[in-house]
């Protein structure tokens, strides 16, 4: 086989609350395109099954079969993707996916259900520096999801509601689990849901600017991970950056939540070519 031939690669990003799938067509000269993206929320279902079903749904959407895929790569908590060929560390896949979606960025902040991590990247999507949040879920995506549930709000309504806030309620760091009571307190004090959500978004954003500062990020910063879809959080991060007068600009992409999966697929395609070239040399 020629190494310049177009190949298909799949990336599976297993997070703690959702599994993201990407099918990528890669021409080998940096001309890759995304065929299918698919997101499957886990919701306490059997993870192996979720992965299998999501993968099959992605193949079906692209009209291809498993044997057409040259390389299937996992990232995140990918141990359960037993049909994968290789695994890539989350940091490198998010960097790769973010640079692919938003060329020219200087940093990435990946905000997932449990962790947030900031990475400084170069134009080849190499990670130059990084920093992660600590071992506490306060201010994580799961935290926000819990709060939304206590408020009886659908996750997709969180962002738009937050954007309507008039007087954001200032929230200090609170335990993701005990937040239930704090939220109840706020509700019974008559604070609107918008103001509660915005307050939480601002407190989370403060945490992320701290992470970004600690790695000397500057220029365009891409948000990836599940929370990239939260317009309220993106706005709050913009506001925090302006307030702290940082030389950064927030950038998002409609496909940002798939950055990890896309990155994994791209790295998979790359590795496939490297391996194929080696076999050719040996032959």
């Amino acid at each position: 086989m020629s190494t310049e031939e177009c190949i298909l690669a799949a990336g599976i990003d297993v997070g703690s609350s959702a599994v993201k799938f990407a099918l990528v067509r890669d021409g080998g000269n940096g001309d890759a395109s995304v065929l299918v993206l698919h997101n499957e929320r886990i919701r306490r279902r059997d993870l192996r099954k979720v992965i299998r079903e999501g993968y099959e749904a992605s193949l079906e959407a692209a009209g291809v079969r498993q044997k057409d895929i040259s390389y299937t790569a996992s990232t995140g908590e990918g141990e359960l993707v037993d049909f994968r060929r290789g695994h890539f560390y989350g940091m490198t896949t998010h960097a790769r996916g973010a640079v692919f979606l938003l060329p020219g960025i200087g940093a990435v902040i990946d905000i997932g259900a449990l962790h947030a991590r900031a990475m400084r990247v170069d134009e080849h999507s190499r990670v130059m520096a990084y920093r992660m949040t600590s071992q506490c879920a306060s201010g994580s995506g799961q935290f926000l999801e819990n709060v939304a549930r206590y408020l009886g709000i659908m996750l997709e309504d969180v962002g738009p509601l937050s954007c309507e806030a008039k007087n954001p309620e200032s929230v200090s760091s609170i335990c993701a689990v005990l937040a239930e009571t704090d939220v109840i307190n706020m509700v019974s004090r008559g604070i609107s849901r918008s103001d509660i959500l915005k307050g939480i978004h601002l407190s989370m954003a403060g945490r992320y600017t701290k992470l970004l500062r600690s790695i000397d990020a500057c220029g365009d910063v891409a948000i990836t991970g599940g929370l990239a879809a939260d317009i309220g959080l993106c706005r709050a991060l913009e506001e925090k950056i302006a307030e702290e007068k940082l030389a950064m600009r927030v950038r998002t992409h409609p496909r940002s939540i798939y950055a990890g999966a896309i990155g994994a697929a791209l790295w998979g395609a790359y590795r496939h070519r490297v391996l194929a070239r080696r076999t050719e040399v040996v032959a």
């Binding site: 749904a57 908590e77 449990l114 879920a137 996750l155 993701a176 005990l178 239930e180 019974s188």
Partner: protein, 445 residues
């Protein structure tokens, strides 16, 4: 109309709100508990009503015991009466949940799939109704006493069965439940006894064996006499996590530390150290011989080490809190849990499960983890003196208790450990006793 005077203590916890009703002699006649997540005003109203409902059942028992023809059968009869009563309450709430679900499903966002969503809801609700009698049969081991928990488990199981990925996804159905249950669980059971006691009595009598039915007239009279009673609340004291927001004047509020110390002393007079693991806080309290607090330490900033930790784990596993401890006790080789944070422990649990580790072993590790946090709090409050009383919801969990026993033995040697089956009501009991004191003081003056 005859009057029975009662004194109430209300403990507004974070997970559950509890109430104790005492009669004038200080005897406990009613208990109430709710897990509503609504504001404190609603929670204390629900739990007050619940305690008064229970008081009426207790008064029926007194009336039966006082009647020579009925004495001896009261336990069996009231057990069955209460089950029928609860089932009627449950069905009423379920009906309401159904209408809320339908209302939520009318939101514009579901318009493209409205028929599919409605149909899935119909199937789910039917399945839920079918499971109700099972929850309230004589031999039933219920996973929880709360409507929300029972309904959530039934709903999720049915939703998994009746969801379809394209038109009525599991995700959408979960969202509908979250929105609907918020409305339903926040309704007080006002006048529940008046409404349900009659039909529950008929149901009980219809299914009763001949020897009980023979005494039908006297049984009706006993229930009727209590139904027409006035329960007059002479005094009420509130305490707990939400006490600042209690709908009572300031002089009717006591700190939860004081109430727990006092309540533990009332249950076990020899108590010197109290460990209370509540939903959102853990307290280590040292008391003197009169039940007065001498020092304490408290964690209320982090869920790790609090009851909510286990509650969160139970939710993660779709289990009732009642089942968690029992399962953990089946462990043969406890796992060491690395995460401190509750949410992270939940993720660690999922990882370990998917790697094939055994549920009981993981759960045993989680129970030990929560107790390790409690031990450090106890050490900071001044250690553990004899006798040691363990209270709060977690004291009902056998795996938590045995983990604690092991750690106490290891660190302090032999200590007498007191646990009351009613320990979840310790704070409410302390508060009710303060209410009794206040009422007596008022009479003397």
């Amino acid at each position: 109309m005859s009057v029975v005077e009662v004194l109430l203590g209300v403990d507004l916890g974070s997970t559950t709100t509890k109430a104790i009703a005492l009669d004038r002699s200080g005897r406990i006649i009613g208990r109430g508990i709710t897990n509503t997540r609504s504001n404190y005003e609603v929670a204390s109203q629900i739990v007050r009503d619940e305690a008064l409902v229970q008081s009426r059942f207790e008064l029926v028992r007194h009336a039966m015991a006082a009647d020579p023809e009925l004495a001896g059968i009261e336990k069996k009869f009231i057990g069955s009466l209460v089950r029928n009563f609860r089932q009627r309450q449950h069905l009423e709430q379920l009906e309401w949940l159904e209408s809320e679900l339908r209302r939520c499903a009318d939101a514009p966002r579901y318009a493209p799939n409205r028929e599919a969503v409605r149909e899935a809801l119909n199937h789910i609700c039917q399945a839920m109704r079918a499971r109700v009698p099972g929850h309230f049969s004589e031999l039933a081991v219920r996973k929880s006493d709360f409507f929300r928990d029972l309904a959530a488990v039934d709903y999720m199981q049915a939703a998994e069965q009746f969801s379809d990925a394209k038109h009525a996804s599991f995700d959408v159905l979960c969202g509908l439940f979250d929105a609907a249950i918020l409305v339903v669980e926040n309704a007080a059971g006002d006048r529940a006894f008046e409404r349900h006691a009659g039909p529950a009595l008929e149901q009980t009598l219809a299914a009763a064996p001949a020897d009980i039915r023979e005494r039908e007239a006297r049984l009706r009279a006993a229930v009727e006499s209590v139904r027409s009673l006035e329960l007059r609340v002479l005094g009420i004291i509130g305490t707990g996590y939400g006490r600042q927001r209690l709908p009572f004047p300031k002089e009717q509020i006591r700190s939860e530390i004081l109430c727990h110390g006092f309540g533990a002393h009332a249950m076990f007079a020899g108590t010197r150290t109290v460990l209370d693991i509540g939903g959102q806080d853990t307290k280590a309290i040292q008391v003197d011989g009169a039940g007065i607090v001498t020092s304490f330490q408290m964690n209320d900033r982090c869920a790790a080490g609090c009851g909510r930790y286990l509650g969160y784990i139970a939710e993660e596993m779709n289990l009732g809190l009642h089942e968690l401890g029992k399962l953990a006790q089946e462990s043969t080789c406890s796992v060491k849990i690395n995460s401190t944070c509750t949410v992270f422990a939940g993720a660690e649990l999922r990882d370990r499960l998917s790697l094939g580790q055994k549920v009981p072993d993981i759960l045993a590790g989680l129970h030990r983890a929560i107790m390790l946090r409690a031990m450090s709090l106890l050490a900071r409050s001044g250690g553990i003196s004899d006798e040691f009383t363990f209270t709060g919801g977690v004291a009902r969990n056998p795996a938590a208790v045995s983990a604690l026993q092991g750690l106490v033995q290891q660190n302090y040697g032999v200590r007498k450990l007191n646990i009351s089956p009613e320990s979840i009501y310790t704070g409410a009991l302390g508060a009710a006793l303060f209410a009794q004191r206040a009422a007596e003081g008022g009479n003397a003056a």
